[in-house]
Symmetry: none
Subunit: 291 residues, 2 copies
């Protein structure tokens, strides 16, 4: 870290040194470059056997590249592969003093990053969770701070076709919680990201204790409300440059959840939806173009 160097990737220096290496070392070197993930995880002997080479070659390769041994080379590869934590835009953090268009650029980057984040959401996990929602007797939904908007949206959409089932926890204030009402055949959805609100964690635990199906929508696998969750739906809160965590992913997850749950509901859900929509329209809350 103390180096002023712009951090040369071990893989790059491997490739550039390749031609000047003995035949066997070249083979091994190419193998490492092509399978660098396995190089960091499997053992030297394993690699040797699938590469059809001698274990010693790996040690020799490392030394030929200036490392003290294979261990050190592998450590370098491992660090190079380490997922960017914290600042995904560290590389792109250019001097934003560019001009009057800096704001436009910020928005642009942000949207781009969020679109990429959506791609990383697991459709499988959502479908599974939706099935759990479908079979649940009642559905409780929790979220605080900015996640409250996500919780409210999910509640709203679910209530469109399951009006008596979906319920926002703490609907009449953050201290009016319904933990005691959780039953084993209920589903509880907890939405949150770091820093985690205490109440949301407590809600998750209460759900778990009540043996209700717990669905966690969070930014990390290690989120406290993910503990004991039957379904864990991840989204990227920090994916976008900016200062507040992003909720775009969480919203997308919530909407997909509602959509799948709706399709699972079949004709009954559709009927309920039309009924609800009709009631809303009846209250004449809609604007109609005159003429």
């Amino acid at each position: 870290m103390a180096q002023a160097q712009p951090k040369p990737s071990p893989l790059n220096e491997l490739c550039s040194a390749l031609p000047s290496l003995p035949m066997r070392l070249q083979e091994v070197g190419r193998f490492v470059a092509a399978n660098d993930y396995d190089a960091t995880t499997r053992s030297m002997r394993e690699l040797a056997s699938v590469a059809g080479a001698d274990p010693a070659s790996f040690t020799r390769l490392a030394k030929a590249l200036g490392y003290s041994g294979w261990d050190e080379l592998r450590a370098a590869l491992t660090e190079a592969r380490r997922p960017a934590q914290g600042s995904p835009f560290s590389g792109r953090a250019k001097s934003r003093r560019g001009g009057p268009n800096a704001d436009v650029k910020l928005v642009h980057d942000k949207l781009e990053a969020e679109a990429a984040g959506l791609a990383r959401i697991s459709a499988n996990a959502i479908a599974d969770a939706a099935r759990a929602l479908h079979t649940a007797n009642r559905i409780w939904i929790t979220g605080f701070r900015s996640c409250r908007s996500v919780a409210e949206l999910l509640t709203y959409q679910l209530r469109l076709f399951r009006p008596d089932a979906a319920q926002l926890v703490g609907g009449s204030g953050p201290f009016d919680l319904d933990h005691g009402a959780f039953r084993a055949d209920d589903a509880v959805v907890v939405i949150g990201f770091a820093p985690y609100t205490l109440v949301s964690v407590e809600t998750a635990r209460a759900a778990h204790q009540a043996r209700a199906t717990l669905i966690a929508i969070a930014d990390t696998i290690s989120a406290p409300m993910a503990e004991g969750a039957d379904h864990l739906l991840l989204f990227e809160a920090a994916s976008s440059p900016g200062f507040f965590p992003s909720l775009t992913g969480a919203i997308a997850v919530a909407q997909s959840l509602a959509a799948v749950a709706f399709t699972l509901g079949g004709a009954g859900a559709k009927r309920k939806l039309e009924e609800t929509e009709g009631r809303l329209a009846e209250m004449s809350q809609y604007f109609v173009e005159k003429g």
Copy 2:
């Protein structure tokens, strides 16, 4: 537990098993979940020393999860982490042809469409609108039905650094409106899509009459609240397959708006934000990892 699934992520089953584990194993398990990359690369003893735990705990954790030992758990984690070969989307679209996985496909398509929708949002328009927000004396925000969640999120984020300026219209109920309070140096944000709620249109008109700066976030140029709007921010509500309009775009717009407004606020906004965050933390509403 449905065992028919092809790949239950080891991390997920770890998280769900956590609560039923003994104390020390929970600590170790949490550590593994939080540092899964190191878990696959560093050795058991290394992990133990930085986690402040006994090496044996890792073996025991693995066995408690049903693995034959730490090596097998680590192998599972390693495989789960293996980089997807190919592009994130095309690569994963394997044999998703209809069948029982129709739900998965639905979610997949939905997310893809929404990601594409984000790309069509105008960064320029958002930056302009943010400047208007910045110069406004007070900021009123409106949205009903599912758009209420967007309105609440925007309000929440703006209040983080402009607590006295941002205000949700009808905060104490949909009929407690503040139309009379609009002033010429205020900004009014109206969020909505078809079918348009009557109140939101009335709010837009009231804002216009008060000569306040009107910012409309809507799905169409012809949206009634867009009439007379100083800034019109479009998002795609119907872009995604499914049955409910999508709010992902609206959320992205709202967040970007808040982000740019924050940067425009400069040091003062930053100070206010820290102040607010501090007050929130002081109320000890956050969950802190013990250890």
